[in-house]
Amino acid sequence: MPQYVFKMKKGELEIEFSSDDAEFVEQQLEKWREEILKKQAQ
């Protein structure tokens, strides 16, 4: 079964998210990406 590991960093802080649920990973990352883009656009 595939495993997905993603890291996001801001300064010294780092969030590492790992799961084998591809659909959930996609949803979560998309949600976060949109939120980051939204903040950048402001």
Binding site: E12, E14, I15, E16, S19, Q28, E35, I36
Partner: protein, 448 residues
């Protein structure tokens, strides 16, 4: 499936390991909101938390904030949101432009974080089933709720939602003296709630009579009139007491909402009431030696009792039913020393049907989002209700699972197209869609 999160800084790190994606999703969103300075709309969707400190630089800052954060139970947040929604229904011009997230954001002016914030203290945690166990707050289930559906006009002393039989006896033209005369000493509780959000008088009958609108008669009045009526009622009660030489609480009690809540709390502390579940009905015992039921057990019995009454009350589903059932099961009645046992036996002579906890036992899932959908299917196909409120669904879900669904679950299911929201003008209800039923049949019922 596993869902792990690891938060690292130069000083420390901690890991959350879970196989419940709902828990992980919420946790991740909270951390994301903290660390990446998410927008207010994003934070408001989390519901659990609104950040005041936007200058976080380290995990220590997060830990500090988490420790200082005010703990607030999910059901209280839910109640606030729903109460706010009800208030908005009285002001339709506001309601149309506000979504749940905005309502939540406005309500949560303080910093909220749930009890799971304790995990911040640990360097490594493992969680499997981490949905918050909530015991309903009995003091909230007193007569402070208003049924906004039933309040259409703000006119003084308006009788609402009375049965035909009750209307024959009590009309909007009755004076309070006439009402008292009609009710005689059957009145057990007069609850005057005349604060800014609830201008209601609830008159509860100790002798439960379904023809009297489940024992509750409501009048909408303004604050001044409520105070005046209260004084009149106290005066009438004194006259009645002196004339009949009876104890004051044997007739009826008069209180405002806050006073009543105190009385209910006192009842709880003293364990005046215990509830025993028999095969066919509930009976109330005042035996002090039998006070073994826990708060949670009593609440579960109340919620089950609510479920038993649903079939005959399909068009009146709201949290008010919990309040009404509290009265049926004796929290109010015991206080004033009445005997509700006869009425309880009469009202429970109904044909048996499948309880949701039994219905749910046929499924393998333990995920809240699936249980929500199963419950939605159950409400439509077993209870034959086309739509439901969140409170009603949770009244089924909580006794069976110990979990309470919030709007994030609803939003996720709406996004998938499995449920739909129905705007009734003065309220919002939900219904399972054909796609949701198809998913239920194809995916959830794999064990059959």
């Amino acid at each position: 499936m596993y869902y792990n999160i690891k938060i690292k800084s130069q000083q420390s790190e901690f890991t959350l390991e879970s196989n419940d994606k709902n828990v992980t999703q919420r946790e991740m969103d909270i951390y994301f909101a903290y660390i990446f300075d998410a927008s207010e709309s994003f934070k408001s969707k989390i519901k659990k938390i609104v950040l005041n400190n936007e200058n976080l630089k380290s995990i220590e800052d997060i830990e500090k904030l988490a420790k200082e954060a005010r703990i607030k139970k999910e059901n209280i947040i839910q109640n606030e949101i729903i109460e706010q929604s009800k208030s908005n229904t009285l002001n339709p011009e506001n309601h149309q432009s506000q979504n749940i997230a905005e309502i939540s954001q406005r309500n949560e002016k303080d910093t909220y974080i749930n009890s799971e914030s304790d995990k911040f203290k640990n360097t490594k945690n493992s969680i499997s089933q981490n949905n918050t166990q909530i015991t309903p707050d009995k003091s909230k289930n007193t007569s402070t709720y208003i049924e906004s559906k039933n309040i259409e006009k703000k006119e003084p002393l308006k009788t609402i939602e009375l049965s035909e039989k009750a209307k024959q006896n009590i009309t909007s033209k009755n004076t309070i003296d006439e009402i008292l005369k009609l009710a005689k000493n059957e009145i057990s509780l007069i609850d005057l709630s005349h604060n800014e959000t609830s201008k209601t008088i609830n008159i509860g009958h100790s002798q439960y009579d379904e023809n009297y609108n489940n024992g509750i008669i409501r009048f909408e009045v303004d604050k001044e009139r409520a105070s005046k009526i209260k004084n009149e009622l106290i005066e009438q009660r004194e006259l009645y007491r002196n004339k009949n030489q009876t104890k004051i609480n044997d007739i009826f009690s008069i209180s405002n909402a806050s006073e009543n809540e105190k009385l209910i709390e006192e009842c709880n502390k003293q364990n005046i009431v215990s509830i025993k579940q028999n095969e066919d009905n509930y009976s109330l015992l005042q035996d002090e030696k039998s006070h073994t039921n826990t708060l949670a057990e009593e609440n579960q019995a109340i919620l089950q009792n609510t479920a038993n009454n649903d079939k005959n009350d399909n068009d009146k589903i709201s949290l008010d039913e919990v309040q009404i059932n509290l009265s049926k099961t004796g929290y109010n009645d015991k206080y004033i020393g009445t005997k509700p046992e006869i009425e309880l036996k009469e009202e429970n002579t109904q044909a048996p049907y499948i309880e949701f906890n039994i219905f749910l036992a046929g499924f393998f899932t333990t995920e809240l989002i699936d249980e929500f959908l199963i419950c939605a299917y159950y409400i439509k196909n077993i209870l034959h209700k086309e739509d439901f409120t969140m409170k009603f669904l949770n009244s089924k879900l909580f006794p069976a699972t110990g979990k309470i669904a919030d709007m994030t679950i609803t939003a996720a299911l709406i996004e998938k197209g499995y449920i739909k929201s129905i705007d009734n003008g003065d309220s919002v209800t939900y219904s399972i869609t054909p796609e949701g039923e198809n998913y239920y049949t194809q995916a959830l019922r794999v064990g059959e």
